[in-house]
Amino acid sequence: MVTATITDLLLHPLGIYVLALGAGFLIPLFDRAHRGSAILVFLLALACMVGIAGFNLFGIINGATAIDIETAGIKPPFSINLRFGLLEGGIVLAVNTAALLGAWHYLPRLKEHASALLLYLILVMGINGMVMTRDLFNLFIFIEITSIATYALIGMERSGSVLAAGFKYIVATSIASAFFLLGTIFIYYQTGTLNIDDIIANQELISGPIGFIATLFVLTGLLIELKPYPANGWGLDVYETASTGIASLISVGVSAGMFFAVYKLLPLAGDFLHSIAFIGGLTFLFSNIIGLKQDNTKRLLGYSSIGQIGLLTLAMALLAQLDSQVDIQSQMYLIVGGLFVNHLFAKAGLFWLAGLVKSSSIRGWSVISKRRGMLLLLGIMMTALVGLPPFPGFWAKWELVMLLASNDMFGWISLILLGSLLEAAYLFRWFSYAQQSVADDEQAEIPVSFWQPLPVAIAVLLLFATSYVMAAVMQVASPELYLPLVAGFALWLIDGVHGRYKNLPMLVAVAIGGYLLTKDLDGINSLFSYLLIGGGLLVSIAALYRKDDRKGFYPLLAVLLLSLATLLRAQSSLEFFFSWELMTLSSYLLITLGRDGAKPALSYLLFSLGSAYLIFAGFAVAYGATGSLLLSSLGNSGESMTMIFSLLAAGFIIKMGGFGFHIWLPDAYAEADDDFTALLSSVVSKAGVFGLVIIAAQLGVRSDIGLDPAYVLGWIGILTATFGALMAVFQEDLKRLLAYSSMGQLGYIVTGVALMSHLGWVSAMYMTVNHFLFKGILLLSAAGIILRTNQRLMYKMGGLIKNMPFTFTFTMIAIIAMSGVPPLTGYGGKWMMFNALMDKGWYWIAALAFFSSAIAFLYMFRLLQTVFLGQRKLEHHELREAPAILLIPQGVMIACIMVVSAYPKLLLDPLSAAIDPWIANTLVWEGTAMVTNFGYWNAPMIMGVVGGVWMVPLILLLLISLTLKIQKVEQFNIVFAAERPRRPEETHYAYNFFAHYDRAIGFLVRPRATAFWNTIVEWSHTTASSLRIFYNGNGQTYALFVVMYFVAMFLLNGGLAL
């Protein structure tokens, strides 16, 4: 205190307590005079508490030493002392900020009683005390202060259910704190001190049965307060019933204090660490499973809250076990701190939102479907909570998993990933309910002013800020990585502009951003950048055909396309995964913008997250094996290679809709906006191809990886191709047909990559480009058709060639290119792949490839026949051609197809050059002909011959036509005798077009995969039901569980052996 200034004095951490207590006295006084002034004092006090915490933390970060507060003029351990260090400061600041924001939210209820204001301050002070105190008994006191304040705040509500829940809460926590007190006194008995630092220093004194019991009581008492499964029913009931203001404070504030208390005592835990980790993991997993079945908004948040705290506990316990490692402390800050801040703001924000919406069931949240601002806040909170970029949870989870991986704790990794997936499932299910717009007359207007969601918005900003700080600490916060988000934000600012010309700024932004991001790339990445960015821009031009506002569409599209660019330039697995998740998230949101997009988007998101977590796990294993995050060091992973390859490949395959994991694909493609489906299929799906090529290049071609995963990959690819084609055959919906077709075509690409040979890769890349071209054309054509007919079912169309000749011509050419019929591009890809397959000796796969390309004819013809040919419906006689803006990109792509068909060398040379660094070039050119071990392919010659043999009969027919009187007739002038056709609907053979095929081999495509995944869902719900039977609502049962918990901990840690 030598340099103590007046500011230091005023802003000393002790001020927090002074303020709380002082305001506590002042509030009733001012209340007498005027309620408003009391509120002012209250808010001022809270704000000052935030300010003090912030000021001191700032000082510490800038090099000041931790502040120790001593009482009674005696040095510890003989007196109670408080500490305000880096960790404490961070937590106190976060908690106080949340409390301040929460007070804003809670104020309408709080201000009804002056005592409520007071209690709130005391509660916050209690939490501050729990965090700062270094004295065990003092900790107990602060716990009790907090608890009593909490009880009292809960008790302010008069409804029976809140009171009942509150009473259960009191019973359970009082038992827990009784045990804590007993433990404290036993520890004192053995060590003779209550100072935590002193106890830790003398922890060898805590021994024998008494020591064991003491530790057990202290730790378990605190753990119980963290609401571990299954002794947490009391907490859930409070979350469910209490007002959101208090529930949020319990969830984030009280839990934070308790959590930090456990953290402080962790050095005492010793062997208990295992069971603490176990409890944390169990709680995290089980609460998230149970969450799946929960419809009540606040109870759902309760499960999520408990799960998050479980994860924090798990992370903390696991890290503590690794304590011997150097540098663990900073990791601990990053991981636990990140998860903590993430949970704090996201969960509090969600509670506040729930308080504003006031819908007890998540199914009722569609009331905010029209309030885009609140929807945005909800989405951001959930994204943060699930741990998706760019939020702190993402960085923390990444660090945690990587750390666990480098210590070979793969069981925990899978638990964390599984739990996160489950959490995403129920949170985004809720989000999809919130998005479902209801009919306007049903729309209950929710009375929310502009200011009310403000705390939530501030929490969002704080999350972003924390995230950036964390990224900076992890040294990944490059402007490039954040460019997609920045561009998206900038476009969002102009999103309120009416009209469709928001597309142009988006295109410019993506063009410039994409160029900046990808200009330095080379090799495969550079090729993909042309495809993904160039192609993405080309397809996005078509979005101009939509005349409506499309709020949110363009910013998200910019994020999506630019995140593809950052994906391409990713050097480390972290950057790759960051971009990957960003891409997943933005494409998910874009799908939700479709007509009935919410539900299919959810399954898209879940499968995508599943795939992302597999990729995550793969990177984790790689990090564990190599200790490096660089993608280029994947190849050094030695024995783990097969494992890494399998995990990563599985992830990419799911993302591409691989066989068995394809069930998300048709729905998502069908329900997304039509122009976005084009982008999804032609461009976004290529991200999976890119990933696959990258890992194949890094891992697949090495000789020390067994061939088996590649062979399996080849089979998966070809089964995907076959079943995709088969399922496409039986679709009635135009977009679903194209979706399955996409799946099938991607299957070929997978097989091509799996070949791990130069020719195989060239064929895969060639097919990738080709798929982009023809699927872009087909889906943009489909967009035009759907725009004009307002219809997706093909049998309700027909004869549209008369109205849309250009669309028909483009579709036809695209289909010829897709089918593999010479002379267009598809043939080259199939030819190269067949050669590569024969080279490799994968004969069965080659046979299936043949078969699936034959099946593909069925659906391709059906598409042309039932949409463009056959009988035109009466109501379609006046339809116009698709808008020019849709046709222009198609025309460009048609031109590309034609050029590449005639001179494939133009495309194959750069492809081959990009692959050369990985596999020796085996392409042999003889003039314009490509020669392999088996055959040869002279594309220009084929083009010439086909052109010639096509022209000759055409000229002949034209000549004969001169001698004929050819009468152009109408659609019903067909051969008939008995009765003439009456309606086009009866005459158009289109519905169930391949009924006979279905009779023959339809049994192959019964929706088994869907049934399988439905069973999984069913099972998880059943599991959830059986896991939550403990929560019977009876306070005494809950209390019994608390007691049993001590017994269980006793037994678990070998209590009987004493």
Binding site: I175, R1028, A1039
Partner: protein, 126 residues
């Protein structure tokens, strides 16, 4: 001296304290009436206080006042540890507070639901 007096007083207090804790807990877990549960809590609380006091007691020790009767050098062995006693005071206050809040809840629950049976307060579950 008979057997009973051989037993240190602190042990008796400790055992009866632990017994009270168990009785109180039994009361909280088995009694359906909320008031009875609160009584159980009080018993448990008291039990804990007794345990705490017994921990610091030195048989035959004097009050922890350093004066002529107890030389400083001998103090550690002679005087009763004052800290648990101090702690108990605080704990009693806190226990009182909690009990008061519980009773307030009981009153309000009775007003709201017209019952004191904890079994009837199970509407929020699962």
């Amino acid at each position: 001296m008979n057997m009973l007096t051989d037993i240190p007083i602190s042990l008796i207090v400790l055992c009866s304290g632990l017994g009270l804790i168990l009785i109180g807990m039994w009361g909280m877990l088995t009694q359906r009436n909320i008031i009875r549960m609160i009584i159980g809590f009080s018993l448990m609380d008291t039990g804990i206080h007794m345990v705490m006091v017994s921990i610091g007691y030195v048989t035959g020790g004097t009050a922890p006042i350093i004066n002529d009767a107890v030389p400083i050098a001998d103090a550690v062995n002679r005087v009763v540890d004052p800290v648990p006693s101090a702690l108990v005071l605080t704990a009693i206050v806190i226990g009182l507070g909690v009990t008061a809040v519980m009773l307030a809840f009981a009153v309000r629950i009775f007003k709201a639901r017209n019952t004191l049976n904890i079994d009837e307060c199970t509407e929020s579950k699962w």
